[in-house]
Subunit: 364 residues, 2 copies
């Protein structure tokens, strides 16, 4: 049985739009979509060295469309998000003769998208970019919205750019080979979208079977998350207002990750833990019905995500790291809370003691 | 005798505008202009270690306006335009607690403006920027228009961004302490503006006395160049068309600089040499009256600028380096010629033999 490919989602961000193609089995269409209407001849294919098989299929598709592909495998892990790695890739691109009308294709998860995206933003002051996310987290979150960057020892994503891609191509089939822990990590962001978007999406998320889940409904689930994010980013590309809502649970998550030296927990696991104190504060400060925290904890746990981290990290270390977070303005933590799923409060600065108690609850 | 400060020039580029303040003796107003209408508390003051006295006056002005200033001297010279130096400055900014509402102030010539500008473009994905150019070249050219970047061994400005400042402050008094060779180097760009803008500016340039020249007329000369550049960049911020005109003489200049390993000649000296073959080609291909080449050579020579470089670099090396220039698209050199001063031809690909002869004439 064949069916028609659904039309692309149009992301209209800033002064231009670009398509987000989302379906199962569409990786082979990458080449024809990249060359449509464009004049470039070559791409640097930046990919996670762990997804070589997927990268090779992307390369074949681009080559079949007449593109000269320079393959650039990148070591897996956060440590590749460095200016040294950016320089290595820029030199590779220059040596291969890439010019301003050429581009970068990112095949991988969040690390690859952030690194390759910043390369595209800065190589010769900006070239074309395509995101081909291979993790659930990248599909629903990091490949959408144009945030790119690398880390410095003082902070994650401290050097980067907002750079929108020319296209995003999400082939849900690639999730079949994603390790279970990575799938679950991405699902933490999906749960976050349920809380941000409203009861209808939350209930779809809550009823989700074992990951990755049925292909036909998977497209719908990812589509709902992507649509939510595009809507927010279109409103606030440069992150001066509403875009901060996407940070729900992330201030504490970043604090946990930093306090642990970015080892031992995945980003999604930290987000799962980080959501819980925000829901408690939402109850205490915004009147959120306590049932939502219980239901959120249950759905996270059912997919193998932690809702607490006992005794591995000190609450003061987490709070100190959270205070250094980019989103903080030095006086307020600018946290995101909810009155109810879909009803968001931005820029909240909870009383320190209340915050400490809420964070301590999930760390002790 | 006091006189009123002339109103700032409004640079309207992209979707916003910013002021270019240009006058003698206005360095002390930097602080009040930086804080006008803004909320930041701190700046990283990136400055050439050779202009410490000027940087200290900038720092005093900012401090008097209530800004916390973190001073970041940078070693003089092109080698500071590196990703390693960018990382050092980003870490310094992070360690000093600079946040998204804070900013970067660049005090120096083209190297400092390019490096500090890219830092501002990329630190926490973009913060406020002020340019305080201290060389004639930076005043008339590099501080205007938003091009920023660093070098990699494969090419100059290969990693960077287009990032417009919040303000540009040009105090012509700082030219009093600029070495004569640096003044002349900047004047090569002034001569270029004369050729691009038209006979009226060319004649003002042609009649210019010894550098830096009388203060009252100096403001007018720089204003004419700045206005020309703002006009071009406002039309074509992202360098897809008319902005290429500013490259007059620069393809051969970059070829000379690259072939010499960026040593032995200043950028302006290379531009002076690079203008001459473009004028010869303009005669041969566009009917430019030969008197303009003679007059251009005379004004360059009168200010101590070379119009030829005998025997220090091979024509084939220069042409090979020019072919790798970012402006080249791999098939065409995309050169800029003129029919007459003020009448510009873009995207010219001269016959190779004709180009070689024209370049050979100034190198043998």
């Amino acid at each position: 049985m064949t069916r028609e490919t659904p039309p692309a989602i149009e992301a209209r961000i800033g002064d231009r739009g670009y398509p987000v193609h989302l379906d199962s089995g569409i990786l082979a269409s990458l080449g024809e979509r990249w060359v449509a209407g464009a004049t470039g001849e070559a791409v640097l294919l930046v990919h996670d060295a762990n997804v070589t098989a997927i990268a090779m299929r992307a390369e074949e598709s681009l080559a079949a469309a007449g593109i000269r592909v320079v393959s650039a495998p990148v070591p897996p892990g956060e440590s590749s998000k460095s200016l040294a790695e950016l320089e290595r890739l820029a030199r590779l691109a220059a040596t291969a003769g890439l010019r301003r009308r050429d581009g970068v294709v990112a095949v991988g998860g969040g690390v690859i998208g952030d690194l390759a995206g910043f390369l595209a933003a800065s190589y010769q002051r900006g070239v074309r970019l395509a995101h081909v996310p291979t993790t659930l987290l990248a599909m629903v979150d990091s490949a959408i919205g144009g945030k790119t960057g690398v880390d410095i020892p003082e902070g994650k994503n401290y050097v980067g750019a907002i750079w929108q891609p020319e296209l995003v191509l999400i082939d849900t089939d690639v999730l079949d080979t994603l390790p279970a822990r990575e799938l679950a990590s991405g699902f933490a962001e999906v749960v976050k979208y349920g809380l941000l978007d409203g009861p209808e999406l939350f209930e779809l998320v809550e009823s989700w079977p074992a990951l990755p889940g049925p292909r036909d409904r998977l497209r719908e689930l990812i589509l709902r998350c992507v649509t939510h994010k595009i809507d927010v980013v279109a409103d606030d590309e440069h992150d001066h207002g509403r875009r901060a809502s996407l940070n729900l649970g992330h201030t504490v998550a970043h604090g946990i990750e930093a306090a642990l030296g970015y080892a031992g927990v995945t980003h999604g696991e930290a987000v799962a833990v980080g959501l819980m104190p925000m829901l408690r504060l939402s109850e205490e400060l915004c009147g959120l019905d306590p049932s939502w925290r219980i239901r959120t904890g249950e759905v996270l746990a059912r997919h193998g995500l932690p809702t607490r981290l006992e005794g591995v990290v000190a609450v003061d270390d987490v709070l100190a790291a959270a205070a250094r977070d980019k989103k903080s303005d030095g006086r307020s933590l600018n946290m995101v809370l909810i009155d109810a799923p879909g009803s968001i409060r931005l820029g909240v600065d909870p009383p320190p003691r209340m915050l400490r108690d809420a964070v301590a609850e999930v760390l002790a």
